[in-house]
Symmetry: C2
Subunit: 248 residues, 2 copies
Amino acid sequence: MNPLDATSRAARMLPGDSEVCETCGSRVTGLCRPLSEAALDEVMGEAEQIALGPRAMLFQEGEKAAHVFTLVQGTAKLTRLLPDGREQVLGFRFVGDIIGYTTGETYPFAVQLLTGAKLCRIERPKLEELMRRLPALERRLLDLCIQELAATQDQLVSVGRRPAEARLAAFLLQLGESGKRRLQVGTQLDMPMTRADIADFLGLTLETVSRSFTAFRRRGWVREPAHNVVEILKPQALHELVDGVAFE
Amino acid sequence: MNPLDATSRAARMLPGDSEVCETCGSRVTGLCRPLSEAALDEVMGEAEQIALGPRAMLFQEGEKAAHVFTLVQGTAKLTRLLPDGREQVLGFRFVGDIIGYTTGETYPFAVQLLTGAKLCRIERPKLEELMRRLPALERRLLDLCIQELAATQDQLVSVGRRPAEARLAAFLLQLGESGKRRLQVGTQLDMPMTRADIADFLGLTLETVSRSFTAFRRRGWVREPAHNVVEILKPQALHELVDGVAFE
DNA sequence: CGTGTTCTTGATGATCATCAAAGGTGGTGG
DNA sequence: CCACCACCTTTGATGATCATCAAGAACACG
């Protein structure tokens, strides 16, 4: 809400501080951004650290929602299972993101790690208790929820109204944006998800995603300098595809 | 539904009157559900009533988010505009729903009324002020946001992974559910949206929606006893279509 | 160095969009 | 009150996009 808040806080951040914040998600994106140092300590006292290997399931869809997580390191995907076994990827989560906060009794989706990861975990009742004491926490959660809602609506537009290549273009640009927010170096993007993951996110098949990738590569719009790394060479071209220049 | 009747009722409302809740959305779904009578009066003091005709735009995408609305009577649709002029319908709003709460400076989508409607409107700053005094309000908003997020994710699954008829089936069942929550009589569903609206919601064309409707009618799964009214005759059949029985 | 997984590429076909036109329905003004 | 008009809906014909099926290549991993 108030950008000044974040900047001034960052300005007086010391080496000792940064250590604390990391464990609760980065200051930029995490749950604790608006908290005072004292409040942060309070939250930290209730939280515990866990580390998990790649492909580990954080929790299953329908499981009792016992914890709320924040991703300290690594990448995860949120999925819904369909009766026929296929899955829809609802989104990806990166460093600093909150995972698994819900009002209901159970998690409405499953979360699987794509990479090895470190997480910070707090029990639901403890978080509820903290929220009563720290209204800023609740406010923060509301802000994050609204952001996520807007992102999901974006995704709905993409999946509902755009042809295959435009969906992939939008996805790559999205990745670039979220990478910037996480202060990634240069134009090289970390992309730990497989073609199948991307396809399930975009409502396509992995073959179509693969073909679109090669099309982009042939046109010199992107490069893949290494496995799980993409570099966007012509963001403008991707943007035009997303905005449907082809149509007008 | 006689507009005059309801208007006069709203006009002679007094604090403490049980009718008060109506103006702020029903107790079941509205913003004020968890509030005490005293708190309700406080909110009501800040709110104002408005009435609008069908097709009126409540606000445009990108407009400054000056108010938060709750729908007292009527139906509305939320839309995002694409550069090529087509639109994606993000969802529909019914009696008791909140419209237009956002953290950002501007509304991230447009809202258009499908029917004549009555709304209760409160200025953003006043709501923020109220939220500081009444934590229950903020909590309620968070709950609603999480519910809406889940609904949007559902929609994403439908649009991303289901064939045309299954999407329409899911939509009709959804309408039925939300109708139940609004205590609609019998199995007759009010459906004020056009085929084009439905198509834009489901990521289809209006022709495909029309064809799916006639298919359902021919199979005896639904009936349309009047304009803008549907009756679901075989909910089971629709469910099977949604769950993809055809596939297994 | 093999083996399973992921990625690419090709061939084919189904689903659904597009284009087109006619039949309904409600609203409006004569 | 009726007639006209705009809009919504239905239905048909055609074709493009993308899913499916299939097989080989590249890659990571043990």
